[in-house]
Point group: C2
């Protein structure tokens, strides 16, 4: 069996380039895909072909987390997937709170992709008093004033922002004040946050805009 | 007036790192934000604060596209925004075709953010014969067999994939066969495409998964 020879459980997060961290979930996804197809060992060439990366990039990315695989034999699909899931914290449940229960917010609450991956939206908030008390999913919409207490009580680690662009920075400030360190931002703004807070934007327009560069040039 | 001193209109797309290209739309967004606030000149420090980047990174990113700004004076907000919009191809209209008119596909068609940014969904397709002919937005759902001809007739440059994961690779192959070079992929897979085809994934789960790394470590 080829297996990880590394047994460190703490990673120096700051030493890993952010682009590498952002690729790790893709590795996990591709590895899971191979595992469910019954493939046990995979080369960096095969991984690279699926991730549109060179084998050297793959080896470099993985080298930040220890020594995986054996020269000329490739990676053990199952153990590499498990190790990366653990590094990414995907072997636990994460609770999220959502702010903004308009059309976008309701679509996000209804999105079926979160729960199977260990993400649960456990609270929903809106600044609009008229929406407070309404049902969204199986939640009662709460007022923003209850944010901090709810974050503490329900062990919420992730904030999901689905308010219009004009309100997004204010709402993100509220989340930061409530102690949230990870924010999934659907609003089309680049928010300002303290250095210890991570923001990931979900924005199809930004994705389109970086592709038109290649269509044009 | 501080203005771009570069007048090259062709960019060697392969010479620009992909991460830089992916940041350009964010620059445009932040610059537009400053422009609408009446700010005419901005420093790389100010830009950096809004983009969570160092001034040196900002200067390096922009250096791929010519010489902007003047030492000690900063960048002209309006002309830099206009130049970046042109580099990204955002000064024209782009037509897109969407495949998969289930719940996710209908939500994407209804998304109000595309049109103001110059992206128009002009055709919708589904492999399910029962959905063909139905109305989605103001479009009639077409069968997949009509894809190639429709791409040609309506000048479609972008494919949007909103089918389930199990069908996504097949549908992406169809788009590639029809001559599409830019694909916005909502399905949770890392598809395999030829090197001249760009795929951008829109996937909130991947975004969450790269943040739990920081929450954990």
């Amino acid at each position: 069996m080829v297996r990880s020879e590394d047994s460190l459980d703490t990673i120096d997060a700051e030493a890993v380039p952010e682009v590498v961290v952002q690729r790790l979930p893709l590795y996990v996804r591709v590895l899971s895909h191979f595992a469910s197809a019954g493939i046990e060992v995979i080369s960096s060439e095969q991984l690279g072909a699926h991730l549109q990366m060179t084998p050297a990039q793959i080896r470099k990315d993985l080298s930040y987390f220890g020594r995986f695989g054996k020269q000329g034999r490739g990676y053990d699909v199952g153990s590499l997937a498990m190790r990366l899931r653990s590094i990414l914290g995907l072997d636990t449940q994460w609770n999220a709170g959502l702010i903004g229960v308009g059309r976008l917010g309701r679509a996000v609450v209804a999105y079926p992709g979160f729960q199977p991956e260990g993400f649960r939206i456990v609270a929903a908030f809106d600044a609009d008093e008229r929406l407070v008390g309404h049902e969204v999913g199986s939640m009662r919409v709460q007022k923003l004033a209850e944010l901090e207490q709810t974050v503490r009580e329900r062990d919420i680690k992730i904030g999901i922002v689905t308010v219009p662009a004009t309100h997004a920075q204010d709402v993100i400030n509220e989340l930061v004040r409530a102690g949230i360190k990870a924010i999934l931002n659907y609003a089309p703004i680049a928010p300002v946050v303290p250095p210890d807070v991570r923001v990931q934007g979900v924005d199809p327009v930004l994705a389109l805009q970086s592709m038109t560069f290649y269509l044009k040039n």
